[in-house]
Symmetry: none
Subunit: 401 residues, 2 copies
């Protein structure tokens, strides 16, 4: 049974406030076995105080051993089973650049490529064309006109762009046109089933017109399309949890993910301090606040242990302004680990603390990987964090009599 | 979603080596409440060192409270959900005596029984006929000839034997012919559905001819057939994990189980020392090694606490030769607990340690039941051990973007 069948049935309304503070890629590893992680190294008096007052645990983003991308990582935290709900590549790419998908859209990831005189692909990435140059070409592709369909083209980085087809009867299931090898022509768009037939035709027309527009280019005279995907059908927060939810994020990707589950995107914060300002401004307007802090992930991805430690200390210093609001439930967690040692996302459980007046405090006295696994939440799949938060907020009724 | 759908999609290749050392029935119980288990009693400096370097946890073989047999116990460790994949009694029996099943086989467990003058069963186990005597009768049954079907008969212990029917169009689903009571005749073989109709006919013919062959016997003048089963359809290691896998086992059952998931059976070791010799010889030829140590289970089954302690110490002394190979990932675990106190398999979580350079060490300083439950792996279902091992070996890519 989907947990949402339960939360839908049991959800209750009250005036409680829930804050979920997500430090992206929070979990880490020591640089040498037996040493301290980034979080354990950082001086975090405020987070440690939360660990003393709250209940800690290790959040498993998807399943043991599975390393998630940002999409599944956040879906889990938002309470959506990341194995049941999958966000297609095109939809995630559109989300990542802040494109607001509608139910009538099919989003596609586009790549510029180089075609030889015979129409075969000689470079699948158009010689890693520079972003400034490819952005102009993406804008040029907006000239494509397809009857009955709105076409949006947005530049991404280097050889990448996003196309969104908006119209009626456009199914999201079309095979990639990128053959993944050179020396052959791009594949013609092919629908996986009848409901996406029209999308395949629209894509073929886009490619034909696009090819003409690019004909005089040397590097980027062709294009391939990948990851066709409709807007993922995620039931909104209001419906599954009864929560009016706000997202306070800096980067488009996380705003986009929050929007997909029905959160309002509020404020225009650029720093964590500004994000807290927005939180305070919006305090009376929402039941639930998702605050996203990016830099624990980006410093981890850079392999910069010390910088990650500093970013964690920055996060720590923001806590007092949050707790001053006296939220009913405060959760501090991450969507996955990003150990500096690995310079990448990882599968390791994410230290998590939940604070409320009824959370049943454990013996943890600090916020860190080793303390968390001895915590009262044990190890749990991320998707259970929302039901736990709702329960602690008194927003879930009894199951059965 | 099946974990294999994930591992298939995410599997990545590299030169890492994974060793899974399975001490059968490893987990135990103290003889008096509050005392030490067999593992905690044993002097295990090498396993304790692994616990210090690695991450520990308690492996739940199937689900909490469920005691597994050897089949489900090993399927879990191999990463196959033991509730989704079931090995039929006949197939397990055939596997246990080293019979290599093919996709065209139906394996059946046979029992000799005593029939009275009216053809009713007077003894369901032929008076617990001795193995030497019944083995001769099993060999006699090889005289049965059925057109288009190869018939194999292999002795097992006492009144038991195994029949394998090999041919085309033989479904595995036929009801048992053993009525489970005396005073009635054996039941005629009956197919559960059309696809096993032919198997039921073949079985009826086998019984008819067999009955004639046994007619002059006093004790064992009849036979019943149970646990009809085709070779279980387990996707092989290479396909689901991308691993070239070798099994180093002494007993046919464990070789057989490993063969069912596509491992190669290597070496002819009779002792743990010889098993390690084989490991060293085969080190460059495989990605994954399953090493099975039987005696922690058999001493537990005997209720011999001290003997189990000694066997654990034997296991411990083999560790240095294994770690000297510098495997990327070393897992030491068991397929279930076999507490001497219970003289049987049990449901208790099995102490497990996983060692790698990126395992996120916990605070455990010894290998034992009580330490393990405080470990960084927490308690987990055995089926997650393979994804964890793959992740630690860098052999699983990211799920979603």
């Amino acid at each position: 049974m989907d947990m949402h069948e339960l939360t839908r049935e049991l959800k209750a309304h009250n005036d409680s406030k829930i804050i979920m503070l997500v430090a992206d890629g929070l979990g880490g590893l020591p640089l040498t076995p037996g040493g301290k992680t980034e979080l354990e190294t950082a001086h975090t008096p405020n987070l440690d105080e939360l660990a003393r007052r709250g209940v800690s645990g290790g959040s498993i983003p998807v399943k043991p051993g599975i390393t998630p991308g940002s999409g599944p990582g956040h879906l889990g935290l938002f309470g959506y089973d990341p194995l049941a709900y999958r966000i297609g590549r095109g939809a995630l790419e559109a989300t990542g650049i802040g494109f607001e998908l509608t139910a009538r859209d099919v989003a596609v990831r586009g790549n510029f490529c180089t075609l030889d005189a015979n129409g075969n692909i000689s470079d699948r990435r158009a010689g890693r064309i520079e972003s400034e140059q490819s952005a102009l070409l993406a804008v040029k592709l907006r000239q494509v006109k397809i009857p009955g369909v709105e076409v949006f083209v947005e530049p991404v980085k280097e050889h990448r762009f996003v196309v969104v087809f908006r119209g009626e009867g456009l199914g999201g299931d079309v095979h990639d046109t990128d053959p993944q090898v050179t020396g052959v022509p791009p594949i013609k768009p092919k629908a996986m089933h009848a409901a996406s037939e029209r999308t395949a035709q629209v894509a073929a027309e886009f490619i034909a017109q696009g090819q003409k527009i690019l004909a005089d280019q040397k590097q980027a005279n062709g294009l391939t399309l990948r990851g066709f995907s409709a807007k993922p059908a995620l039931p909104p927060y209001q419906e599954v949890y009864g929560l009016k939810a706000a997202a306070i994020a800096v980067y488009p990707m996380y705003k986009g993910l929050a929007r997909l589950v029905g959160m309002d995107i509020v404020g225009k914060a650029q720093t964590l301090g500004e994000q807290i300002d927005v939180l305070i401004q919006q305090w009376n307007s929402y039941d639930f606040f998702f605050i996203h802090f990016k830099y624990t992930d980006s410093t981890g991805e850079d392999g910069n242990f010390d910088a990650k430690v500093k970013r964690i200390e920055e996060l720590d210093s923001a806590i007092p302004r949050i707790t001053a609001l006296n939220p009913t439930v405060l959760v501090v967690t991450g969507d996955h680990s990003t150990p500096s040692l690995l310079k990448s996302h990882s599968w390791h459980p994410v230290p998590t603390v939940l604070v409320s007046n009824v959370c049943r405090t454990d013996g943890c006295t600090a916020f860190g990987e080793n303390e968390a696994i001895r915590g009262g939440l044990g190890q749990f799949e991320a998707k259970y964090l929302m039901p736990l938060a709702l329960a602690n907020a008194g927003r879930l009724g009894k199951y059965g009599a």
